[in-house]
Symmetry: C2
Subunit: 226 residues, 2 copies
């Protein structure tokens, strides 16, 4: 058990992870949206879960939609940042897709709340979440481009091109809290599976090695969250 840092309790005990009020609010919203449901959660309930007044919450987020949008961005932004860094190394399409899937999968599996589960909410079709959809579409198209480049050399039908993105996304259904101890291994197997559905199998040991290298340098721990 950890000892507390201060001898006597702070007047305003910090209840949530995060170094800023904004992060604490996002954490509470992530918990309530994914455990009680989006429609059933009020901004007042979120403020109460953080231990602040509703008026203070509005200082950071004007609407519940804004909170949802910020949370959803957290599910794609780190991966887009990783991909952007990865591309500086000029990896092959197969190396790039394998590393991308392993990173993205690990992100989804280790998120504190299962935010990916919110993707299918009817509320998400709202135009107000358009910037999130644009970013997610950017990510999907990045997967698609890489998949198509690989399919061109394996001869597997082009219909398989969307499956790697969907395979990684399906990790949302395997999320657990606390994360499975072998989440990095599971994400790695999903990365393998992404290549297999495109018809690649012989090169997997080499691809695992290059992914290990890329993730070691730019892996989840080194990419900013929130």
């Amino acid at each position: 058990m950890e000892t507390t840092r201060a001898g006597r309790p702070r007047l305003t005990e910090r209840r949530r992870p995060g170094t800023t009020a904004r992060e604490e609010i996002l954490d509470a919203a992530g918990e309530l949206f994914t455990t009680r449901g989006y429609a059933s959660t009020s901004t007042r309930a979120i403020a109460e879960a953080v231990g602040i007044r509703q008026a203070s919450l509005y200082h950071y987020f004007k609407t519940k939609d804004e909170l949802l949008s910020a949370l959803l961005h957290q599910t794609v932004t780190p991966t887009l940042t990783f991909l952007s860094a990865l591309r500086h190394d000029d990896p092959s399409a197969a190396q790039c897709l394998h590393a991308l899937a392993a990173f993205d999968g690990a992100q989804l599996l280790t998120s504190r709340w299962n935010l990916g589960a919110l993707y299918l909410l009817p509320e998400l079709r709202e135009a107000r979440l358009a910037t999130f959809w644009t970013e997610r579409e950017r990510l999907r198209l990045a997967y698609l481009d890489l998949s198509r480049a690989i399919l061109a050399s394996t001869g597997v039908a082009d219909d398989a091109a969307d499956l790697p993105f969907r395979l990684v996304e399906s990790l949302v259904n395997m999320w657990s809290q606390p994360p499975q101890s072998d989440h990095a291994k599971l994400a790695g197997h999903v990365a393998d599976a992404c290549l297999r559905v495109l018809g690649v199998s012989d090169d997997l040991p080499d691809l695992r090695a290059s992914t290990h290298h890329y993730l070691g340098r730019n892996g989840p721990a080194k990419v900013g969250r929130l």
Copy 2:
């Protein structure tokens, strides 16, 4: 354009597909749960969408949970029935998995409402939906057993065993209404992908032929819905 069967309108116009009031209610609930959200939909709104009184609805379903449970069963029951019929033919594990995935995938893609999108609802953790979870778990374990039998001969890591089920499930994210015209083709490609993630690739043409045979006999059109 179709001509109407009767010269003058019926007093109580049937608004929804289904031959019984129960089916009409389920259709309306499926639409509202998947478009407006479960928490935001009242049983009164469902009754109104069917054109009946709320008291009449309660005659068929006592609670909103009962409605949700019935809808969710529709997403797994036809597949379990298909699998049961399939087993009488004593197919190999690979043949069985390929046909199962193609059938299950086609079901998910052609359902009138995207009911699979409800799987991740926080409300679904409720104990009242236990019978649905039991059936879905039966289906998941059937996939898992088949996958493990295949992995034993391909030498791919056992961690891939859950991926075929997840791949098919990911079709929930590709659902559209009306269904894509090539939904059977897409489901077939996902069936191929299920085998590929387990390390099978050479036998795919044969597996497609056997699946074509099994689906022709017991395919979606011949399996009862609702």
